[in-house]
């Protein structure tokens, strides 16, 4: 394989390295700082694509850090599913970064923008690591890096709400990582391994002797990843954090960060805990019902919000629930739906937060009731909002339909039509709070009263790219679905 055998590690290393040089560049060669981050993200994307092609040809590839074989060394695993997550992660973060180039100057002080680039690269690098790693302790370290950088891209704005929100987020995510590490100890105690593949083997045997340890670990993992991914009763930190952050950070947090933890929980359920454990206690069932509740309550809370960004944040709680549903339903079609939704929701929610960012940039309005008639003054922005809302609701022709379709199909396939009802009801609730904004924006007779600044070209371009992709996901879902079906077939 030559040079490309080091790609799994290089993806993370390139991003971390950029994180260290970007504040220096920002200080001494300001024009180069942003292109450096873009170049690093492009390089990472290219490496992921090369790896994906190689994995399709030669099968799953394991990378041993420093040449130490597992169970002693840290192992990175490149399989189609992880690489799919990485493609979504890196391309969406590249897109958000390009949007951020203009928006950051508006929301942050000039001297901290170089540090923002650092945090951004660290965040993307750590998320890439979470997706790639095959080792529980490495996962813990990367999760802490991800938590600190995710809190820091909120608190970098240094106003009161951002500081409070990021403190709340930090405390709850510290609780999450504490629980996670305790779960790791429980598993290490009974098996002596930290590597996923070794654990999977060893837990089958250990389950006969120490079932209690393994159950405790599973419960702790649900709490840990549930807190970090905002699974319904553990979502309390999310609305404040995602709503008060600068818009590019909100797009990043809502679009990608919560999903990567949902993916980590998926890995725990399918690659660490063997079938016997999941059959002995209804863990998937618990996740499934919490997700069903989250899909309803997230939407209900979103309905009563008056702040646009808060509403989008609550809507994320409802949407992440679909992904958890895909994990909990235990069917290959459900996995396809859940993972398709990771991509669709990442693009859609990031775009909606960009729209909110553009509205704040150009008019300074945050309240939903002041948005009447805004469609006439910001047409591109509000068309983007319309298409984003359509995808959230799941109207045909947008990506949102495809993921809901596969989830509903799998619910019928395993004979539990109640979840089809949940999906339908939640979609209707989505329509109830998204559609009035669209209708008021375009069809209200009142003129928009506030002063409007022109929207920079690069921000409009980012929104157009988002719209195009949402529609492509709606009409040409075949290649991605085929990839996901192949990947899901490995687990059943």
């Amino acid at each position: 394989m030559g040079f490309s055998e080091h790609f799994p590690a290089l993806i993370v290393v390139v991003l971390f390295f950029t994180a260290f040089i970007s504040p220096l560049l920002y200080r001494w060669a300001r024009k180069l700082a942003a292109p450096a981050v873009i170049a690093a993200l492009l390089a990472a994307l290219a490496m992921v694509v090369v790896l994906l092609i190689q994995v399709q040809q030669f099968g799953i590839y394991y990378y041993h850090m420093g040449g130490w074989p597992p169970p002693w060394g840290i192992e990175f695993k490149a399989d189609p599913l992880r690489l799919y997550i990485l493609v979504v992660l890196i391309s969406v973060s590249l897109w958000i970064f390009i949007y951020a180039l203009r928006d950051l100057g508006h929301e942050l002080k000039t001297r901290v923008i170089g540090w923002y680039y650092t945090l951004y690269s660290v965040l993307v690098g750590s998320m890439a690591g979470i997706a790639l790693t095959n080792d529980l302790f490495n996962l813990f370290v990367l999760m802490e890096i991800c938590a600190i950088s995710a809190c820091a891209i909120i608190s970098i704005k240094e106003d009161r709400e951002c500081l409070e929100a990021s403190f709340k987020y930090l405390i709850l995510s510290a609780m999450g990582t504490g629980c996670f590490l305790l779960g790791v100890v429980m598993l290490y105690m009974v098996t002596g391994y930290l590597n996923y593949s070794f654990l999977y083997q060893a837990l089958v045997e250990a389950f006969d002797f120490y079932p209690l340890n393994i159950f405790t670990a599973a419960a702790l993992f649900i709490v840990a990843f549930g807190t970090k991914a905002a699974l319904f009763p553990l979502h309390v930190w999310l609305p404040d954090a995602h709503a008060s952050a600068p818009s590019p950070s909100s797009a990043m947090l809502s679009g990608l960060v919560i999903k990567i933890y949902a993916f980590a929980l998926f890995l725990m359920f399918y690659e660490v805990f063997p079938r016997v454990v999941l059959e002995a206690v209804p863990l998937s069932e618990i996740v499934l019902w919490l997700a069903a509740l989250g899909a309803m309550f997230g939407s209900i809370y979103a309905m009563i919000q008056t702040d646009l960004k808060k509403m989008l944040a609550y809507s994320s709680i409802a949407q992440i629930a679909y992904i958890f549903m895909g994990i909990g339903l235990h069917h290959s079609l459900a996995l396809v739906g859940g993972f398709y939704h990771i991509m669709v929701h990442a693009v859609t929610k990031a775009m909606l937060f960009m729209v909110a960012g553009v509205i704040i940039y150009s008019t300074g309005v945050r309240r939903i009731d002041q948005l009447t008639g805004i469609g006439k003054v910001l047409p591109v922005t509000m068309v983007a909002f319309t298409i984003g809302s359509a995808s959230m609701v799941g109207i045909p022709g947008t990506g949102g339909l495809i993921s809901k379709w596969y989830l509903a199909l799998s619910a019928l396939e395993i004979g539990r039509p109640i979840f089809v009802l949940v999906i339908l009801a939640s979609s209707l609730l989505n329509a109830i709070y998204y559609m009035p904004i669209v209708i008021n924006a375009f069809m209200h007779q009142d003129e928009f009263k506030k002063e409007v600044k022109p929207v920079p070209g690069i921000m409009q371009l980012s929104m157009v790219v988002g719209m195009v992709f949402i529609i492509i996901f709606g009409f040409f879902s075949k290649p991605v679905v085929t990839l996901l079906e192949q990947a899901a077939a490995l687990f059943f």
């Binding site: 302790f137 813990f140 370290v141 802490e144 938590a147 600190i148 809190c151 820091a152 608190s155 240094e158 009161r160 500081l163 409070e164 990021s166 403190f167 930090l170 405390i171 510290a174 609780m175 504490g178 590490l181 305790l182 100890v185 290490y188 105690m189």
Partner: protein, 122 residues
């Protein structure tokens, strides 16, 4: 009786779990932000204690290989991992405390309830 004996034999696990619960309870219920950060450290430390205790076997010694001596070695891996864990916990603590300092500058208090009260008056 057997359970009781098990608890007495493995008292260090019990200590770790009790500390964990104290830490988590204080972190989630106390309104003082400095105390929240301290509780976070207690919680982390309890997990580290538990992890290191897992690596210990009764009567074992530090894992340094000496010639011609048959002894039981303690497992070195948990120790190595916890060293990393401590570094991570320190950085999280530093960041959390810096946030508390910034919040204190805005409100002149570290108490979360008082801050909520002030915000609701606005």
């Amino acid at each position: 009786m057997e359970t009781l004996q098990g608890i007495v034999d493995n008292y260090y696990y019990m200590v770790a779990i009790i500390l964990f619960v104290i830490g988590m309870y204080t972190m989630l219920t106390h309104s003082n932000m400095i105390k929240k950060v301290i509780a976070m450290n207690i919680m982390d430390a309890s997990v580290f204690l538990m992890f290191v205790a897992v690596g210990y076997a009764h009567g074992s010694q530090a894992p340094i290989i000496r010639d011609n001596v048959e002894i039981i070695y303690a497992n070195p891996l948990p120790g190595a991992l916890i060293l990393t864990g401590i570094v991570v916990a320190v950085s999280v603590t530093a960041y959390a405390l810096s946030l508390v300092v910034k919040i204190y500058r805005y409100y002149d208090t570290c108490d979360y309830d008082e801050i909520c009260e002030m915000r609701s008056k606005e």
